[in-house]
């Protein structure tokens, strides 16, 4: 199973060459559960919380986080997904990324939004997501949950909930899925 999700990740990004596995599926599962407890601790009213996964890597984590939250609290947790392709600041520098589905079916005004992503790196994806969110209303607060924080921020953005801090060098690459976390390198295609 772990092999398969790694293969899927490589299929999405063929330039990734894995070196070693850092976290197992169990480790990831425990980290998500811990983050869910932290989210509960930090929220005054769990019914006002909306979990939003960032396409593509964050969606699976968001769904898992929402289901664990539902299990812990006994409340139905709203969960959506957001693609930020149209909000990126590097559109003019790179080929236009192929967008994935966005699904947010509620007004976010006065809600607490928890953005979820797999890996936090430069912070530019989160910046784009914050921009996008304003089109769905004015959230009371926006929080950020990431499975892996690998450092190298280029913007003043910090996560509220972190699965694992992994200091990396810029040349390295991280793949984080529900089935495990791998470190490796990027090679030119």
């Amino acid at each position: 199973m772990e092999e398969r999700s790694l293969r899927d990740a490589i299929a999405r990004d063929p330039t990734f060459v894995p070196r070693s596995q850092l976290l197992s599926a169990d480790d990831v599962s425990r980290a998500v559960r811990r983050m869910a407890h932290e989210v509960v601790e930090h929220s005054k009213d769990i019914d006002q919380v909306v979990i939003i996964g960032l396409q593509i890597g964050g969606v699976a984590f968001a769904q898992r986080l929402a289901s664990v939250l539902a299990e812990i609290t006994g409340h139905q947790i709203r969960c959506g997904q957001l693609d930020v392709a149209f909000y990126r600041d590097d559109l003019a520098r790179n080929p236009a990324p192929r967008p994935a589905a966005t699904l947010i079916d509620c007004d976010l005004t006065d809600q607490t939004v928890v953005l979820v992503d797999d890996v936090l790196f430069t912070g530019r994806t989160v910046r784009a997501a914050l921009n996008a969110l304003t089109d769905w209303g004015r959230p009371r607060a926006v929080q950020l949950a990431v499975m892996v924080d690998r450092g190298h921020r280029e913007l003043p953005i910090r996560p509220d909930f972190v699965g694992k801090n992994l200091p990396t060098s810029r040349g390295e690459a991280i793949v984080a899925t529900l089935d495990g976390v791998w470190i490796g390198t990027k090679v030119a295609p």
Binding site: L91, P95, A101, T102
Partner: protein
Amino acid sequence: MIDSIRGENLLSLDELSREAIVEVLDTAEAFVEVNQRAIKKVPALKGRVVASLFFEESTRTRLSFETAAKRLSADVLSLAVASSSMKKGESLRDTIATVDALGIDAVVMRHQSSGAALQVSRYVPHVRVINGGDGLHQHPTQGLLDAFTIRQVLAERRGTTGVESGSELFEGLHVLIVGDVRHSRVARSDIAAYVALGAEVRIAAPGTLLPECVAQWPVGVARDFDEAIEWADVLGLLRLQRERGSGSFVPTLGEFTATHGLTVERARRIKSDALIMHPGPMNRGIEIDSLVADSSAAVIERQVHNGVPIRMAVLYLSVAGSTEGQGS
């Protein structure tokens, strides 16, 4: 063959591969969602300038292109040709040079001459050119939105999504294109899109309205409309283009309707799940009966509806991915 229109001009669907077409359709799905939001605007083309140059009249193409550009946050320069210096005899080349001097990233253009968009792309190689219809040649975004509409309807019926199905739903699909094929750039673009996606295409037209080199087209020619009507999963009707003189290619309009119009009687014989399409504007009572046009089999309104997301996808892929037009 072009495998992706990222950073490229869109002049003709003949030069696009199946992958390139599917990429546009998939991207358009994301824009369908954007168009359902309360705020239907994304900043993808912020700071970019799109010039809309329609040398030939148009309602839906022009409006939907301009709407698409605005929803991508581009600035739109719109040239009303009727009141422009073209009327004083300025050439196409000089008009383009003038517009280009204002600093533009893309041109959406329609022109009565086939090849005009290609010509303009040579005048201003640093500007992305999107063909909004050139003479009898091509109308690529219409072909794309027609393919998108077919995929959308069939995907809904099968309980799947367009993105998941890729080009699968076109495999072996029977498409019959009927009417004034000779004068139709829509037919040329539709055929290119459908064939690239794997559909089987036939055309039916009075002998005089068949294109001269039809033998080289990747389509079958139906002996007559009535014979092919039960074969079709999709009926693509075309407008009888009287302004291009097609009136003189048929004895009378009544005769055209009698042999090639989709009348109520003929509509009774189509497959129960067949789709009826028309690129508009319709000549009700000539190529299509008014009752048929408003029936549930007709997806004509949906075609218009899909114009904006398809054109957003084309502008996004073509313009957002290019750096040349930026003054920096």
